[in-house]
Amino acid sequence: MNETPAEKKFREIISSIHSSIAGGDVPEIQMASRNKDNIVLDYLSSVWKYGDSTVTRSARSLDGAKYILKLLYMVEFIESMIQTNKSSTLREMYYISEGWNLAKFGAQDESNMMAEDLEVLSSLLREDFKLRPEENGASIMGNITVEEKTRKGEFKKINCKDDVGDSGYPIPYNVEEEKLRIKDVDADFILAIETGGMFDRLVENGFDEESRSLLVHLKGQPARSTRRLLKRLNTERNLPVYVFTDGDPWSFRIFGSIAYGAIKTAHISEYLAVPTAEFIGITASDILNYDLPTDKLSDRDVAALNSELKDPRFNSEFWVQEIETMLRIGKKAEQQALAKYGLDYVTKTYLPEKLSEIDGFRG
């Protein structure tokens, strides 16, 4: 039987553990450090990737040894899926680990994180490991036609405006060519929207048709597949991406992960990040300029803003100014706060104004 790339990489990883022990050395695993202190801008691709600092998990400590054992169990599980041609969700794998005794995961975050570690260690994608996330409900609305491969193996043609209801076309977890083909696109740009309420508002107001745009509902922090689809549309069809979120520190992070890449997935930023994405708002300046209804920043909000000031991804004049303004006024605002001026205000006034400020808008 032919060895898959995943199996080959796994064999290398396990061999190094095994030979350490046989040679009387304490086994350890070394990989790129996956925190915000270790992401650097890759000038070639304009996205943020992991830098040179590494972390070492050594079996000398109980935690390190358990980590290595868990990794071995995960590899064993993935190999068995590859051999039997099955796949599982990340959540299913978490539950399966219940049977791994000492190597059982404490929480799903831990097993998700380890699946990503395995990507970093092997330079492969989790699709190669037969692992997939849950559907997360992000959707797209607008004049684009795609072909999605169904479970019966046939490609089905769907127009994301005419063949779908008001909630749009749900973005599948795998948006690579093998699963999703992008056919005709008749739009000038993509507007990525954080909340469902605002997405529905723009759909009801017919903003996609009026402005010749594709509306993408991010559903909070966007899933990998949502970011991957934005990336494909951006590079394959040259569509600019504009991001429209709430005005708070967490929404700034949503933009950060779309434009610069997320810290957790910096190893695959090249596949996911859209460095040319632009932030529409809500900015701290919008809160002042549009006199929006606000909420007070909580202690956690303030801490998040301060941490963003130290985040290399936000180290630009625009972001430093916006973050400092928000800290100064001590306020945040939701996208839907624009309804203060009526239901049409966002589509008739706010978005056209903000879009016209940005280069490349063909209004």
């Binding site: 061999s15 095994h18 350490s20 009387g24 304490v26 079996a59 064993e76």
Partner: protein, 624 residues
């Protein structure tokens, strides 16, 4: 006040007090419906416990609350105390301030004659109904049933009816008070009050029936009557001018000097001589001729001469045994892992009145770790449920930095967080309270300091327990690592690669180059079968002597010893023994060793050189 002559002070004061109560009952704690019910029960129960203590009776207290209208309740409190003589009943229950032990002082629970009459009066005011009293003394054949109200104007009892009845009880008193009130459960409820009373009275049995008819019994766990506190005469430093003057005038036909020598403590002829020579005070004046101004001069003189502090052997602490057993009885179901040795401070003096502090702490087990510690406050063996914020006990706890003792505390101030119950008992003569209803101890510095000193000693015990537990769990972690995880990493990686098992012994001694001592146990009905295992992860052969001190062992002569001889690398040896008795949670054996460098051993301590002597000394101390 000043020098107005009061011919019949008692009559004047008594009448006004009943009326005064009618108008200002909140001062005695009868402020809300819930609180009033609580006060009625509390006053009666405190009296019962005081009476039982005085007569060395093991208390058996019965409390029942029943509903006779929307907010009209009937409270019944019955005890097995000494009973009250028939002719004293109108005085005890019908007159405010009756029975205050005039001229002598002593640590007691009750409010010296205000409480129970106030309760009856409250019932009368709110329901217009009389209370019912039944009481029997041991020497009487029959009990007497009274229906009794209070004549507010004249400060005396109105006896509505009185009749002899047969009562199977040897002695006791039963009080039935109708009142307007509200029954609630929770932190400031009657039931909580009884529960906390049971902590400090483990020699009492409590039965409680709530308005729904639900019955709860708290059993007696100590078969020993409490020792009543001794009365002492007032100390000169503990008296106000008015009090001193009144005492002097209470008994005629004696001189000022005779009065001071007879009625006050620590006043000697020498004291009087000093005062005469320094201030020219004439002690031969008859008390009848004393002017209050002159008495003021006497008082000032007292503060300038040397007087011994008041006697300190007149207090009645709960004692270690009561605190420990009381806490176990009430909180045992939470299975705390650590019952601290209760701490008692030496007696201190505040304003001429002796007082002291006791503290007990229980920790761990199923106590909630994320919440603030639970504080149970007592003053003179009475639970304090109200006004925690105003209390010296809360202040002492909040001002102490608990973080050094293994508790969480934000900024080192405030009530700490952790799985603990902290019992604080402040006891003494004339404890200063923040109000007449005696709900909180006043935050006097010396009292707060003493509480804090006791808390610190108790908290050190908790710290020691936490340290020991952390150390054990670290050793256990390391043992899991070398015994389970590393071998599994070896076998799993081998089987994934289809290779033979690697030899892990080198790696193990790299990670843990020590000899481990661990134990496992099997719980049986009344004992544990314990297996101590010694594993050599070093690269050298080891020989040494191992000692095991099983839990619950009180003498070092019961410490077991084993020889470990010629234990080769990667080899193990085990020893089995039996531990009698069972515990909530197996506390673990203490292991010691001799004959090998301590750096090579984990899970056991080097045997202290004076191990066998020290143990004997500690035992002698606890036997005192």
């Amino acid at each position: 006040m000043s020098s107005r002559k009061i011919d019949s002070p008692s009559e004047f004061r008594e009448t006004s007090i009943s009326e005064f109560f009618e108008k200002n009952r909140h001062i005695l704690g009868f402020d809300s419906l819930q609180k009033s019910l609580f006060m009625v029960i509390k006053e009666a129960v405190d009296n019962s416990l005081d009476a039982c203590e005085e007569y060395q009776i093991l208390p058996d207290i019965y409390v029942e609350i029943s509903r006779s209208g929307d907010d009209i309740l009937t409270a019944v409190i019955e005890d097995n105390g000494p009973g009250i003589s028939r002719k004293e009943v109108p005085n005890v229950f019908g007159r405010l301030l009756y029975g205050s032990r005039f001229g002598t002082l002593r640590q007691s629970r009750g409010q010296q004659g205000i409480g129970i009459t106030a309760s009856i009066l409250y019932g009368q005011i709110t329901t217009a109904l009389p209370s019912k009293i039944r009481t029997k003394m041991r020497q009487d054949d029959v009990a007497y049933d009274f229906q009794l109200g209070i004549n507010v104007k004249e400060n005396r009892a109105d006896i509505i009816s009185e009749k002899p009845v047969i009562w199977e009880k040897e002695s006791g008193t039963r009080i039935e008070i109708p009142l307007k009130g509200k029954y609630q459960t929770g932190k400031q409820s009657v039931f909580e009050y009884l529960k906390e009373s049971a902590i400090v009275n483990p020699n009492a049995q409590f039965t409680f029936i709530d308005p729904e008819g639900k019955k709860v019994r708290i059993e007696r766990v100590v078969e020993k009557a409490s020792v009543p506190a001794r009365s002492i005469k007032p100390h000169p430093m503990g008296l106000e001018l008015g009090e001193l003057f009144r005492m002097a005038r209470a008994v005629p036909n004696r001189t000022l000097g005779e009065f001071l020598l007879q009625d006050l403590s620590r006043v000697t002829p020498r004291t009087l001589d000093d005062m005469t020579s320094a201030f020219g005070i004439d002690f031969s004046i008859p008390v009848e001729n004393l002017e209050i101004q002159y008495m003021k001069g006497v008082m000032d003189a007292f503060s300038s001469v040397k007087i011994l502090p008041p006697p300190t052997d007149c207090l009645s602490p709960l004692g270690s045994d009561f605190i420990r057993r009381g806490l176990k009885n009430i909180y045992g179901e939470l299975q705390p892992l650590y019952f601290g040795k209760p701490v008692q401070r030496p007696v201190s003096v505040h304003n001429g009145n002796p007082f002291s502090v006791e503290v007990g702490i229980v920790y761990g087990g199923n106590l909630p770790a994320e919440e603030q510690v639970r504080i149970v406050r007592f003053a003179n063996k009475v639970p304090l449920l109200y006004q925690p914020g105003a209390c010296a006990i809360t202040r002492a706890i909040s001002e102490m930095d608990w973080r050094t003792y293994g508790f969480d505390q934000r900024g080192g101030k405030g009530v700490p967080f952790g799985p603990a119950i902290i019992l604080v008992h402040v006891f003494g003569i004339r404890l200063p309270f923040t109000s007449e209803s005696k709900e909180a101890i006043a935050g006097i510095d010396i009292i707060v300091d003493e509480i804090m000193a006791a808390l610190k000693t108790a908290a050190r015990g908790v710290r020691g327990f936490i340290n020991k537990r952390e150390k054990r769990s670290k050793i256990y972690e390391k043992f899991t690592l070398v015994e389970k995880i590393i071998p599994e990493i070896g076998s799993k990686s081998a089987s994934l690669l289809g290779l033979p098992q690697p030899d892990i012994s080198m790696v193990l001694s790299r990670i843990a180059n020590v000899i481990f001592v661990t134990e496992s146990f099997q719980r049986n009905e009344d004992h544990y079968d314990v297996k101590a295992e010694v594993v050599n992860f070093t690269r050298k052969t080891a020989t040494f002597k191992l000692y095991a001190e099983p839990p619950g062992v009180s003498s070092p002569s019961e410490t077991l010893s084993f020889d470990v001889s010629g234990l080769e690398p990667s080899r193990r040896i085990s020893f089995e023994f039996r531990v009698n008795g069972t515990f909530n949670q197996y506390p673990g054996t203490e292991y010691y060793f001799t004959g090998i460098d301590p750096v090579w051993v984990q899970g056991a301590e080097l045997l202290p050189p004076d191990y066998f002597e020290e143990e004997l000394k500690i035992e002698a101390e606890t036997d005192e």
